[in-house]
Symmetry: D3
Subunit: 187 residues, 6 copies
Amino acid sequence: MIVGGGKTARDYIKPLRDMGVNEGLLDLVGIRASRLNAYTLTLLLGDRAYPEVPGSIEQFLEYWATGRIVVAGGFQPGQSTNAVSALVAEATHSDILYNLTTVDGVYSDDPKRNPKARKLDTLTVKELRGIIEKNKAEAGTYELFDRLALDIIERSKIKVVVLDGRDPWNLIRHMKGEKIGSLVLPD
Amino acid sequence: MIVGGGKTARDYIKPLRDMGVNEGLLDLVGIRASRLNAYTLTLLLGDRAYPEVPGSIEQFLEYWATGRIVVAGGFQPGQSTNAVSALVAEATHSDILYNLTTVDGVYSDDPKRNPKARKLDTLTVKELRGIIEKNKAEAGTYELFDRLALDIIERSKIKVVVLDGRDPWNLIRHMKGEKIGSLVLPD
Amino acid sequence: MIVGGGKTARDYIKPLRDMGVNEGLLDLVGIRASRLNAYTLTLLLGDRAYPEVPGSIEQFLEYWATGRIVVAGGFQPGQSTNAVSALVAEATHSDILYNLTTVDGVYSDDPKRNPKARKLDTLTVKELRGIIEKNKAEAGTYELFDRLALDIIERSKIKVVVLDGRDPWNLIRHMKGEKIGSLVLPD
Amino acid sequence: MIVGGGKTARDYIKPLRDMGVNEGLLDLVGIRASRLNAYTLTLLLGDRAYPEVPGSIEQFLEYWATGRIVVAGGFQPGQSTNAVSALVAEATHSDILYNLTTVDGVYSDDPKRNPKARKLDTLTVKELRGIIEKNKAEAGTYELFDRLALDIIERSKIKVVVLDGRDPWNLIRHMKGEKIGSLVLPD
Amino acid sequence: MIVGGGKTARDYIKPLRDMGVNEGLLDLVGIRASRLNAYTLTLLLGDRAYPEVPGSIEQFLEYWATGRIVVAGGFQPGQSTNAVSALVAEATHSDILYNLTTVDGVYSDDPKRNPKARKLDTLTVKELRGIIEKNKAEAGTYELFDRLALDIIERSKIKVVVLDGRDPWNLIRHMKGEKIGSLVLPD
Amino acid sequence: MIVGGGKTARDYIKPLRDMGVNEGLLDLVGIRASRLNAYTLTLLLGDRAYPEVPGSIEQFLEYWATGRIVVAGGFQPGQSTNAVSALVAEATHSDILYNLTTVDGVYSDDPKRNPKARKLDTLTVKELRGIIEKNKAEAGTYELFDRLALDIIERSKIKVVVLDGRDPWNLIRHMKGEKIGSLVLPD
């Protein structure tokens, strides 16, 4: 399980950015905030989780070798926690990566700006890349996956399911066969 | 420099306590929050600070050996970051410990409940212990130092200066000889 | 399993104290001695034990995640290994903590000074605290539990059984239902 | 100083790829090979270098705090050691990054395929990105910088000098003011 | 499983030796090369292996506690990876150590120099020591075991089987009872 | 500075050996005892020493990079702390190694058994090896240096001075030019 820095990251980064701290160090603070989130989740999972948060993919694999769930936050400046998910999915030979986010799937365009945007049930990585690049060029706010994440799921042919994580039961619903979210397939 | 978990710690601990997480694990989350604060301060100090936050007094001493400022948060459940300050002051043979807090000194009683309480310019550790124990018995909210901190400053005869840290320049003012805050002297 | 520094700790600390080493550093030497004892016990337990001695509660939990017995010594200056036991019992959600010591239970007073002192079969944490504080005030030698240990077993409602560990079979006898030692119950 | 995996990485990766090992694990082997190269360089630098190779930017900063030269290899799958250089340059607030490679500068096009390609004395990051993307699209072999490296030097306005490292004295020559290589300037 | 540095070690050490690097540091480079080999083997073993390479016998035992195969390279300058095998066999209470090498067993003398040398089906550690010391005195090239390895298998009465590892199936053949290789028995 | 396990090591090892613990694990306990001695010495050296005890030559070099004195105990089973001294002397490019022991120099034979044994002012490594091997063969108690230590000082041409360490001022006396102890020269 990989979690982002969320509100805590934004709250810590904002005043530091105003004070002129550079982007690399801001990312490091955001990573630490995501690890605080990951640590909290670890405690809630109790004995099922490894009780420490890994700082790199190599450390992730060591914790993983104990047979426990490993909860990670960020690994490195310059990449999102989506990239961490993809790195972990690849290194653990996973077939599928669940991305629980704040929208109910991948849209053909940014739904906030384009009323004709429609949710896609299935799409290819190449199509996903096209949608992201197109929107990124203009706004930079519609980013389900960063490029490193896309590169990795593409080269290792990992399927991705995008679900609305605001209701975590959607994960169970999808596993039981309900038709929700979007499925991103290798090209 | 030792920093507490502050608002972040409280924000993370509250929902977890409501979910029934035990006090030992809640303390661990609070410790991680204090380390996030410490890490942020580390970045602001730049090359003057060691770029990592120690998890124990032994690790603190290793980082300290590089000649850099070391910024720590919590070390262990069941103790405050005041105890961490005292442990660090003792292990580094410090003569004096500056405690920057949200009041302008030590009062003879809790000023919120006793209008006759007056700020003490100088007091002994024994007197400080008396004031804290008396107030703790009733309310538990007026805690400048926990008992481990008191035990350590007492056994190693470390002077403590309590200052109002809401204006950090008070530290400089005190060092220049201005008569502010309270001085706690060995018995 | 948590072990103290015993004779080795005392033998190393005495000459250092005579040379003026401060109490914080003496505690660090005592902690290392207790870890030597813990390591030795680890080897005797063979494959059932994790083959390394943790230096903090966070490290304890990592070793514990392998499913092996973890043997610890001290964690930090300013606290006894009783405090370590309580920290570990709390973090592992244990119901009961066995304290194997050199007396056969908790007495109503220090048996060396008060001939009327009698062993208590059952007592509350509050009563235990009263007995310890009372004796501590005068002598400082009758200390089954330090205050941090008391605080933790109280806040997390951990039962404590005090047994005479000079005969380790007492542990088995108690588990089989024999009425030996003293039982300390949450208030 | 950051070094790549070179021939050793290629020699180890090739048979593993033939055996079906996935790209993430192949990258991990390449990273280890680059660390062997880094370690070797460390030894040659003697007391001027920190005697260990960092595995992450966080570890890099810790070693860096000793005041020694730090030699790193790769950090993470999915990125080149150029990305490592950019991460390090940013985190250490460097103004300039020297990239010693096997060509004598940046060309307007791939010189192997386009005889009209000419070396550029100065160019912007944006122009560099254009040249790389254009060539990548077709061949994937002409890659001075990966995208993460470009993103970082762009966001933190780090100047890059590309030099022919087959003659390491070019570094000294450039520092003395000789007009060699290419200078990449922030947009 | 313990692996040596092989060709990679020799390729890295040779130019460094020509540059005057001392033998202790050359050994450190050889150790890192053996760890690269060990890491590669780790990846090929997948989930059966612990995903990191230990740097000491103490670390080996920690990884071993997870129940996975541990693949090690060198531990320390001044000793061969045969010594590492013997250290590991002893610390894990192993009865037998398989040495897969480039000859098909132990010979009564160096077969390259003495045409009358014959393969020994069974021999004692003392006899093995005699053969090695005799040949070492003259050439230094015929070294199945270094002295530390011999000391350890002798003191802990570990049986050794020497097999031709150029065909790894020999290991299975020997385990099934085929009469190949040489068996070294405690005195 | 390298220290042995001394009386503590012997006191811990004896009962374990009687209980059948194998020699490899007994060595590990002895190593931990030597590290307790090293840690104690570290504290006495205060700010001049690095405040942690290294567990391997690689860790030694990292601590050494801070510019502090590093105090080590044992590194590995199967070798004495003399071997550790030699490994450290070699890795730090030292010209000379001071061996403070319980005799006042190297004797031509074991003085306890041969009344004609005389102290040697100067000898070669080869002569030292001869004396040690001869006495080892019979008794095993007269061991100034183990073979790994001899191999290393020989291959890296390190001078050794053997002094009576029961009076530590002998170290200063020798440095000031007094003719005490024995000097072991490269062949």
